[in-house]
C-alpha cells in the first residue's frame, strides 16, 4: 500500500470516481500516476501548480466571461491532476463518435438536399422547419465535397450511476476549446514530466495539421494554391485566443470581416499587395452574422455578399452554414434514429432521454416534474438558457414554467445525469477533493473518415457539488490522457 500523501482522506462519495474504484484503491489506468503524485509532498505539488498557472499567464492563454462584468479576459483555470482514459474505453468512444459524426453529416446533406428522411417520415417535418436555426437560405446549396460537419466538439458525460458515457450535445456549429487541449498538454509535460513519461500517453499535437489538411482539400482551385483564412469575430470574442492560436498553428491568415471583400461572387482578402482570392474560410462567426445581405442586416462581423460566393462554390466555409439544425436540442433526440436510417447501424454511444416540450404530453410531464429535470433552450449552448431543476428556487421554477408554456418548441427537458468526478486540487484548502467533469473530444471529418485526437477537453466544475462545467460559467479544465495499447 502506497502512502496516500496528497490523497489522504479523499472521499469518492456516492459518485463514479474516474481515479478510484474504491477509497484508496486507484483504477488500473491511474496506478502509475497515483504512485507519482502520492509520493509528492503537498508543498511540492503546490509549487508545480503555481508553475503551471504562471506558464498559462505568460503565454496569455485566456478566455472571456461575458456575464461577470470584470473586464474582458481571464485565465482558464487549469487543474493539474489529469483525467485518464484506458485505451479500450477510448476505442469505444472513438467508434461511437465517428458513427455519430457520419450520421450528422448525412442528415445535414439530406435535410438541405433531397430530404428523404422527411419523406420517409423518420422525423416530423414540423420539428425541422420550426427550428430557428434551420436555414432555408442554403436549401439546395452544394457544399464543397459534401462536408457539413468538418469539426464537431461532442460533449460526453459519464453517468455516475452506470459508469456509461452519454452524449450530451453535438456542437456542430463552431465548437471551441481545442487550443486548451493542446496547451494543457504542453504545460502538463513541463510541469509533471515524470508522471507523464511513466504513463505512455497518446499524442494530440497533430490536430492543427489534420484540420489544415481538411481545409485545404475544400479549395475549388486545387490544394496547391489554396488561400485559407480563419474568420474571427474579433478581439472581444470569448474564444479570440483560440482563433489566433489556431491560425498561427496552421500557418493561415487570421482575418475579420472587414479584411475580406466580395466582388462578382468571389471572396478576396485585402492585403498590402492588393486583393488576394480566398478559397476556404474557417469561420468562427455565427451563421446569422456571416453576411448582412442574406442574414442580419445589422451585422458588422461578416462579409456582405459572402453567401453568394458560397452558393456559387467559389469559396468553402467550415463548418457549413445551417448546421444549427443538428445542434437543436429537440433534434438531438432523433440522432439515434439518424444512425439507424443513414448507416443501418445501432448507436454505439448512449443519449439522454429527452422530453420535447413541443409535444403536449411531454410538456405536461415536464411541468409536473420540473424540480427533478434539467430544462434547456433548444438553440443555446454553453450552459446559457438552462434550468437545473433540483437546485433552482421556487421563483426560478415558476419563471421557467411560464417560459415553457409560452414557447414550448423552444425547450426540452432531460433527467439530471449525475456526472462522474475526478480528484481535483483546491488551492484554497490545499487539499484534493472530487469535482464533476465532462469530456469534449474534437472530431474532424474529411469526407471519408473521422479523425479524433485521443482524449479531448475534460472540463471540470471547480465549485464543490457544481455540475456546470462550461468555461463561460466559471468551469476549468484538465489534461486528458488516453493510454497507449494494453491497459
Amino acid at each position: 500500500m502506497v502512502n496516500p500523501g496528497l490523497f489522504e482522506g479523499y472521499e469518492t462519495g456516492s459518485f463514479y470516481d474516474e481515479m478510484f474504484s474504491s477509497p484508496g484503491q486507484p483504477r488500473a489506468q491511474y496506478t502509475k500516476l497515483f504512485q507519482k503524485l502520492a509520493s509528492m509532498a503537498p508543498s511540492q505539488f503546490e509549487e508545480r501548480r503555481k508553475l503551471a498557472d504562471l506558464s498559462f499567464l505568460i503565454q496569455g492563454i485566456t478566455f472571456t466571461v461575458y456575464s461577470d462584468g470584470r473586464g474582458t479576459e481571464r485565465l482558464f483555470p487549469f487543474d493539474l491532476i489529469p483525467r485518464i482514459l484506458p485505451h479500450s474505453e477510448w476505442e469505444h468512444i472513438d467508434r461511437g463518435l465517428s458513427q455519430r459524426v457520419m450520421a450528422l453529416n448525412l442528415f445535414l446533406q439530406d435535410i438541405y438536399g433531397k430530404q428523404t428522411i422527411l419523406k420517409d417520415k423518420k422525423i416530423p417535418r414540423w420539428l425541422v422547419y420550426s427550428c430557428p436555426n434551420f436555414r432555408r437560405e442554403v436549401i439546395g446549396v452544394e457544399v464543397a465535397r459534401g462536408i457539413y460537419t468538418h469539426i464537431c466538439g461532442i460533449d460526453l458525460v459519464r453517468d455516475s450511476k452506470s459508469g456509461d458515457f452519454y452524449v450530451l450535445e453535438d456542437n456542430v456549429r463552431t465548437p471551441s476549446g481545442i487550443s486548451y487541449v493542446l496547451e494543457n498538454r504542453l504545460v502538463m509535460t513541463r510541469t509533471l514530466p515524470e508522471a507523464f513519461q511513466a504513463c505512455e500517453v497518446l499524442p494530440v499535437h497533430h490536430y492543427p495539421a489534420e484540420l489544415a489538411r481538411i481545409l485545404r482539400s475544400l479549395s475549388s482551385r486545387g490544394e496547391a494554391d489554396a488561400q485559407i483564412v480563419l474568420l474571427t469575430p474579433g478581439i472581444h470574442n470569448s474564444a479570440y485566443f483560440e482563433h489566433s492560436f489556431l491560425a498561427q498553428q496552421m500557418g493561415i491568415e487570421l482575418v475579420e470581416g472587414r479584411d475580406l471583400i466580395v466582388d462578382g461572387g468571389i471572396v478576396y482578402m485585402k492585403t498590402i499587395r492588393g486583393l488576394q482570392r480566398v478559397d476556404v474560410i474557417y469561420r468562427r462567426v455565427d451563421d446569422e452574422y456571416l453576411d448582412s445581405l442574406t442574414f442580419r442586416p445589422d451585422s458588422v462581423l461578416g462579409v456582405p455578399g459572402l453567401m453568394g460566393a458560397y452558393r456559387a462554390g467559389t469559396v468553402a466555409l467550415a463548418n457549413a452554414v445551417g448546421n444549427g439544425i443538428a445542434d437543436d436540442k429537440a433534434i438531438y433526440a432523433y440522432v439515434p434514429e439518424f444512425i439507424r436510417y443513414y448507416l443501418g447501424e445501432e448507436p454505439i454511444l448512449k443519449t439522454v432521454e429527452t422530453f420535447l416540450c413541443a409535444n403536449p404530453k411531454d410538456l405536461e410531464y415536464v411541468l409536473e416534474h420540473l424540480p427533478q429535470l434539467v430544462v434547456k433552450a433548444v438553440g443555446e449552448s454553453g450552459g446559457y438558457g438552462m434550468l437545473m431543476g433540483p437546485t433552482a428556487d421556487r421563483a426560478k421554477l415558476m419563471d421557467f414554467a411560464d417560459r415553457l408554456r409560452a414557447n414550448p418548441r423552444n425547450y426540452i427537458a432531460q433527467p439530471v445525469v449525475g456526472l462522474s468526478r475526478v480528484p481535483s486540487y483546491d488551492p484554497s484548502t490545499g487539499s484534493v477533493a472530487g469535482r464533476h467533469v465532462d469530456l469534449r473530444p474534437y472530431c474532424l471529418y474529411d469526407g471519408e473518415k473521422v479523425t479524433i485526437v485521443p482524449g479531448g477537453l475534460t472540463r471540470v466544475a471547480l465549485q464543490p457539488n457544481s455540475l456546470i462545467v462550461n468555461s463561460s460559467q466559471g468551469g476549468g479544465s484538465k489534461d486528458t490522457w488516453v493510454l497507449r495499447g494494453e491497459d
Binding site: 462578382g264 461572387g265 445581405l293 460566393a309
Partner: protein, 328 residues
C-alpha cells in the same frame, strides 16, 4: 393568352457618397405551367457584377455589387411575359369537414405555408372572420376561401400609406385598412389558421385598359403596377390565386414574380452599403402589351415553347439549359 413587356425601375438616391453596395433582387417573373418568362434582362447603373440562383421557394434571385463610390444606383429589370390561361373558378367540392380529417397530412407537406410568421401571426380577431366565412359559404374549401377573400375585400378599406412595408396583420386589423400587401397577409392569416395552406404572391397587376387587345403602343402605363395577392392550396386542384384587394378573380392581368411565406420572402429589392448617407427610393413599373416591329400584336403566333435568353447577369453564371433543368 396575354403577352406583356414589363420595365421595373428602382432608383436609389443617396445624400452623400456610398460604396461597397451589395444588393439582392427578386424581379424575374416566375416561369411555370401558367406563365412563361420569355426574356429577362437586368441592368444596373453604375455597372455591376453579380450572380443568380433560385431560392428555397423556386424564385429567381439576382445578387450584384457596386464597389466604387457612387451617389445614385438604378436597377432596371425588363422582362417579357406570356400569361397562358386564366384561372378557372375552382369547382372542387371537397367539404371543410372532410378536409379537416386529413389536415395532418397537409401540415407534413406544407409546413411553411401553414405556420404563423412575423407578418402573419395567428391572432384572435381572425377567428371571427373564419366563423363568418364558414357561415355564409357553401361549406367547401374552395367556397370558404373565396368567401374569406370577398369578406376581407368588403370589410377592409384600401388606403395607401395606412401601413408600412414592415407592418404585420396586427396593424391592418386594428386600422381596418391597408394596402395589397396587408390584404394578402390577412387572407393568408385566415386560411392558415383554418388549417389550409396559403402562400404570398408578389407581382404586377396590368391595368385594365392596357390589357385589352385594342390598346395602342402609346398607351404605355406609367403607373405603379406592383401588386400582391395570395394563392391557396385547393384540394384536387392545386395552388389557386385569390385577390382580396381587387375582389376579382386572379386572371391574365396578374403577373407573378415570386412567392413565399409572406412579404419577407419576396421583397423585390434589398441591399446594404457602406457610407453614412441616407437614401431615398423611387420605383417605377411600366407594363404594355408586347407587340412586333410593325406595331401589331403577335400573340396568336406564339406556338413554340418559351426560350428565355439569359440576362446580362446570368450569362456569366447560369446558361439557359441549366435554368431549365433546375425547374424540376
Amino acid at each position: 393568352m396575354n403577352r406583356y413587356r414589363l420595365v421595373h425601375t428602382t432608383d436609389f438616391v443617396y445624400d452623400g457618397p456610398v460604396s461597397e453596395s451589395y444588393n439582392e433582387v427578386r424581379l424575374r417573373p416566375l416561369h411555370d405551367e401558367r406563365q412563361s418568362c420569355l426574356s429577362f434582362r437586368l441592368t444596373t447603373t453604375p455597372n455591376s457584377r453579380g450572380t443568380a440562383y433560385r431560392d428555397a421557394y423556386g424564385n429567381w434571385v439576382h445578387q450584384f455589387n457596386v464597389l466604387t463610390e457612387h451617389r445614385r444606383l438604378r436597377v432596371e429589370a425588363e422582362s417579357v411575359v406570356l400569361e397562358h390561361e386564366a384561372f378557372e373558378a375552382p369547382t372542387d367540392s371537397t367539404m371543410l369537414a372532410d378536409y379537416d380529417s386529413h389536415s395532418h397530412l397537409l401540415d407534413e407537406e406544407h409546413f411553411d405555408f401553414m405556420a404563423p410568421t412575423g407578418f402573419v401571426p395567428h391572432l384572435v380577431p381572425l377567428r371571427e372572420i373564419i366563423e363568418a366565412a364558414e357561415k355564409s359559404c357553401d361549406g367547401t374549401v374552395a367556397g370558404f376561401t373565396q368567401t374569406t377573400s370577398d369578406l376581407i375585400h368588403k370589410r377592409f378599406r384600401y388606403v395607401k400609406g395606412a401601413t408600412h412595408v414592415h407592418s404585420s396583420i396586427e396593424d391592418s386589423l386594428s386600422l381596418g385598412a391597408g394596402v395589397c400587401q396587408d390584404f394578402a397577409h390577412l387572407l393568408l392569416g385566415v386560411v392558415r389558421m383554418r388549417g389550409i395552406p396559403g402562400r404570398y404572391v408578389s407581382g404586377y397587376l396590368v391595368p385594365g385598359s392596357t390589357a385589352s387587345p385594342e390598346a395602342k403602343q402609346e398607351d404605355v402605363i406609367g403607373g405603379q403596377a406592383s401588386h400582391a395577392w395570395a394563392e391557396v392550396m385547393i384540394p384536387n386542384t392545386g395552388w389557386m390565386g385569390f385577390d382580396p384587394t381587387l375582389g376579382n378573380p386572379v386572371g391574365l392581368r396578374h403577373i407573378r414574380i415570386a412567392c413565399g411565406r409572406d412579404y419577407g420572402d419576396v421583397a423585390p429589392v434589398r441591399g446594404v452599403y457602406k457610407g453614412h448617407a441616407g437614401q431615398s427610393l423611387s420605383v417605377d413599373v411600366r407594363v404594355r402589351p408586347a407587340i412586333d416591329d410593325s406595331g401589331r400584336e403577335q400573340l396568336s403566333k406564339i406556338t413554340v415553347g418559351p426560350v428565355p435568353p439569359p440576362s446580362v447577369l446570368e450569362r456569366a453564371q447560369q446558361p439557359a439549359q441549366q435554368q431549365q433543368q433546375q425547374q424540376q
